[in-house]
């Protein structure tokens, strides 16, 4: 499970849903929340449900963004997509561990009712408020089902009454805390969207910033952003090759605790970084 790009797809637009799997995004999020007007929630829910049952999404992991737990739609959203090909649901605007527990119990109940294996439906949540950022640790610890934390910058800056800029300095603390905490508890950390779909250079810089904080991937809002995000969140060919050579040297030397590779010391933490790169990218390229 490793997603560099996670692309939002409006849940009430058939043409976008039916082509969503062709753009190379590692995962897609069929959206029932912000992109759907209140009086079209029923329509989008049925559309997404039928799409998941009738279209072929193989090759990409699919999440559904439900409405928030404090909305009247959450349980209906969950029920409409639980028995489909989804990898999981993405719940927005989470602020407290209690919400995670409620979501987890709701999913467990429906898994049982449908005869699905316990834990089949994974959970990703979005942190979009000051309180959410402060509670990330408790949120991470609240459910084994939770696999990832995403950051929602638009609602966060609204909550903080601050202006969002392209440079994103105002988001630095929240992004850093989110990535740090997610990593500490074994969750993936997904960065916020970059809203200007016609600024690939700005997107590149934003990806580099997110990566430097420790984010593992990024949400995107347009197919044109997928390639840039995938590239920026992937190691280079040289990095993968170096990882392979370090691991070969490590094994050749009998797996020592510390060794030298091309003049640089490689100890366990450094080795683990190379092993992670090779596990994620090296094996596929060699097979």
């Amino acid at each position: 499970m490793f997603w560099r790009s996670i692309m939002y797809v409006p849940g009430n637009t058939p043409s976008m849903i039916q082509s969503s799997m062709i753009y190379g995004a590692d995962a897609i999020v069929l959206d029932l929340e912000d992109s759907v007007e209140e009086n079209e929630k029923d329509s989008a829910r049925n559309l997404v449900s039928y799409a998941l049952k009738m279209l072929d999404f193989s090759g990409t992991d699919v999440f559904v963004r439900t409405n928030s737990v404090d909305s009247k739609h959450f349980l209906n959203d969950l029920a409409a997509v639980a028995d489909t090909c989804i990898y999981g649901i993405r719940v927005p605007k989470v602020q407290k561990a209690e919400e995670i527990i409620y979501i987890d119990q709701s999913i467990a109940k429906i898994e049982k009712e449908l005869g699905l294996p316990a834990g089949k439906i994974k959970l990703m949540v979005s942190i979009e408020s000051a309180l959410g950022v402060l509670n990330i640790k408790e949120i991470c610890l609240a459910s084994q089902r939770l696999i990832g934390i995403a950051f929602g910058a638009e609602d966060f800056t609204y909550d903080m009454s601050i202006k969002r800029t392209k440079e994103g300095k105002e988001l630095a603390f929240a992004r850093s805390v989110l990535a740090l905490t997610a990593r500490a508890y074994g969750k993936i950390a997904i960065d916020c969207v970059f809203s200007d779909t016609k600024d690939p250079e700005g997107l590149k810089k934003d990806c580099e910033t997110a990566k430097s904080f420790g984010m593992t991937g990024k949400s995107v809002i347009h197919p044109g952003q997928v390639e840039v995000v995938n590239e920026l969140f992937s190691p280079s060919v040289q990095e993968v090759d170096q990882a392979r050579r370090v691991i070969e040297q490590y094994e050749k030397l009998g797996c020592p605790g510390v060794f030298s590779f091309e003049g640089n010391m490689v100890d366990l933490p450094v080795l683990k970084k190379y092993q992670r790169i090779y596990e994620l990218y090296g094996r596929d390229k060699n097979e």
């Binding site: 637009t13 058939p14 329509s43 049925n46 039928y50 799409a51």
Partner: protein, 94 residues
């Protein structure tokens, strides 16, 4: 006469309007650029869904803009559910 609709007049979508009528039948009107090719399939799907809902006394207008089957089914189900919310007593299962 009660009526409800769902969908949009946009490429890849379908606008469906369902109306309750006095006659104990299901009247289906199809408008589509590809009517000659797909009208039969569209009507078959509509009748299948209406039958599953156990419904008669309906006039259904399908204004198709190239929707795939999943969209046609979802829009029709939603339109029927909306009609039900307006007082029709049929139980429509998604």
């Amino acid at each position: 006469m009660k009526s409800a609709s769902c969908g949009k007049a946009k490429k890849g979508d379908v606008l469906i309007t369902v109306s309750s009528i006095d006659s104990e039948e299901v009247v289906i009107n199809i408008k589509s650029k590809v009517k000659e090719l797909y009208a039969h399939e569209i009507e078959k799907t509509v009748r299948e869904i209406v039958s599953q809902a156990g419904k008669t006394n309906l006039e259904i207008t399908v204004d198709d803009y190239g929707a795939l089957d999943f969209a046609l089914r979802a829009r029709l189900i939603t339109a029927l559910q909306r009609l039900q919310e307006k007082g029709d007593d049929t139980d429509v299962l998604a």
